[in-house]
């Protein structure tokens, strides 16, 4: 009985134990939810939102597109900023520092409003989807830059000295010594940041970007079925973030070489 519930760190978990323990946790969660919902005097009306399933799907697709684009762009921005922070050209270093501190120190909501209604307006950029993706990328890029920079700086000096001793150039050092180790270290925080981008994209609804959250809110406005609109919303976001956690765990296992 004990081996079904207890697992000492490091030992592989038996399938039977996995099933039993997950079942108990699921049971507890289900009990809590059914208690919470039984306390509501709520008339459930799923037929109303089934009519609007097309809207949900379109919004979900738009969130996927926006998140994917922001993912790629923010990785590029983060990488470049991390390198700029370590640059020997001082104005570049300070520009990067200013960017990181400003973005990390202000709320995303404020950034979306200012970048769309003030900055984009000044530069004449009309397309709100493009501005939305750029805002998300700049936001996540600042956080990624700091993660990448801390990864780079965690490589011990002895390795850098050895690299210099065998005659590797700066670029070669980055390519063969620093980045493989940094990449491995970065996988957990990186995937965390990616999941965060997916969820933060919901804030773009305030500039009328027709993504998942706005579509669910519109359906709620038409049908007055609040819970029936927002529960699929939660499930939809989970469908996007859970695969990222799974990929993260697979990658971590693959790169688990001894250092």
């Amino acid at each position: 009985m004990k081996h079904l519930l207890i697992n000492i760190d490091g030992q592989p978990v038996a399938v039977a134990a996995r099933i039993v323990s997950w079942f108990l946790v699921a049971l507890l969660a289900a009990a809590m939810f059914s208690f919470a919902f039984s306390q509501l005097q709520y008339g459930w009306e799923w037929s109303a939102i089934w009519q609007y399933r097309q809207k949900f799907l379109q919004g979900w697709m738009m969130t996927v597109i926006i998140s994917a684009a922001a993912l790629v762009a923010s990785l590029v921005i983060g990488l470049l900023t991390a390198l700029a922070r370590r640059s020997s050209f001082l104005p570049l270093r300070y520009a990067a520092l200013l960017y990181v501190e400003t973005i990390r120190g202000t709320p995303l909501l404020v950034q979306i409003l200012i970048l769309f209604y003030v900055v984009a307006n000044a530069f004449g950029v009309e397309n709100r989807y493009v501005v939305g993706i750029m805002t998300l990328s700049l936001f996540a890029g600042a956080y990624l830059a700091e993660m990448i920079r801390s990864g780079i700086e965690s490589i011990r000096d002895s390795q850098l000295e050895s690299a210099r001793a065998i005659g590797l150039t700066r670029v070669q050092t980055y390519r063969y010594i620093i980045f493989p180790q940094v990449a491995r270290q970065l996988i957990p925080p990186l995937t965390g940041q990616f999941a965060s981008i997916i969820k933060d994209s919901s804030l773009l609804s305030i500039i009328a970007v027709s993504e998942f959250t706005l579509n669910a809110q519109e359906v709620n406005a038409f049908t007055y079925s609040t819970l029936e609109s927002y529960l699929p919303l939660a499930v939809g976001y989970l469908l996007l973030t859970l695969p990222i956690s799974l990929i993260s765990r697979t990658l971590e296992r693959r790169f688990h070489f001894a250092t």
């Binding site: 509501l40 005097q41 209604y117 307006n121 009328a208 519109e218 709620n220 406005a221 038409f222 007055y224």
Partner: protein
């Protein structure tokens, strides 16, 4: 030992008796009225942050006639009907139009005000009426959950609809030229135009007439009858006229000059 037990028992019994009698006298339940305090001059906050406006006055008078203290619950407009359905508020007095669709979820009182949907246009728009705007390259701003939103999505199939949370964001979109028009009620459209004369223009002829009513949860017949009785009485003794003079004097005169009917 037995004496201590006896004293304990007596104290316990006394406390029970007094709490029993305390609940026998029920305190008067406040009347919780939901509204979105972002709609001057009907629902707004004064400089001290207290709710004020035409709807707040109506709510206060109504609560007085029912003999209950009033509590104003500031809720986002598209959250008002869910709040009413789940019992978080007892009434909705928020310049809400009575529509057949909404009447499936909640009950409405008799209407207390007539108005209509109008257009706030960007400065260089060439549209003369609502049908001019039903084209693929036209962007129409609406506020989420309002009758303008419903009209745009059901009747304007070709235009692009921009759904925004706040009236101020929608007005900003029009004045910056990002949206061609904003569909909203007549009075607010007039006010928004006044505040943005340089960047917007208006068509104040309503293309859809509407009337505002008080929202009541379904099944609450007694409350509905009391509200209807109050509205009739309040109008008879000139209450609505007084509110119109106090809050809407300028608009009333301007509308009279332009020849639009004003019903409060």
């Amino acid at each position: 030992m037995r004496l201590r037990g006896a004293i304990l028992l007596m104290t316990f019994a006394t406390v029970l008796a007094f709490t029993g009698s305390a609940t026998a006298v029920e305190p008067v339940k406040p009347l919780i009225v939901g509204m979105e305090l972002a709609y001057p001059p009907f629902e707004m906050t004064d400089k001290a942050g207290k709710p004020s406006g035409v709807s707040v006055e109506i709510a206060t008078e109504l609560a007085k006639s029912l003999g209950r203290p009033v509590v104003i619950q500031n809720t986002a407009f598209d959250g008002l009907i869910p709040a009413l359905k789940t019992g978080k508020v007892d009434l909705v007095i928020s310049s809400m139009t009575a529509t057949a669709e909404r009447a499936k979820s909640i009950d409405f009182s008799d209407p207390y005000l007539s108005t209509g949907l109008c257009l706030l246009l960007k400065k260089d728009s060439s549209a003369k009426n609502i049908t001019d705007l039903d084209k693929a390259e036209v962007k129409i701003a609406v506020k989420k959950g309002t009758t303008g939103h419903i009209y745009a999505t059901t009747r304007l199939k070709k235009a692009q609809i921009l759904v925004l949370d706040k009236e101020s964001a929608a007005v900003l979109e029009v004045s910056q030229g990002k949206a061609d028009a904003f569909i909203y009620d007549q009075m607010s459209t007039y006010q928004n135009w006044q505040r943005n004369k340089a960047t917007t223009k208006v068509i104040l002829e309503p293309f859809q007439r509407e009337s505002w009513a008080v929202g009541i949860r379904k099944g609450n017949e007694t409350l509905k009858n009391s509200v209807n009785a109050f509205i009739k009485e309040f109008r008879a003794k000139g209450g609505f006229d007084q509110l119109g003079d106090r809050y809407l004097k300028e608009m009333k005169d301007e509308f009279k000059r332009l020849g639009y009917p004003f019903f409060l």
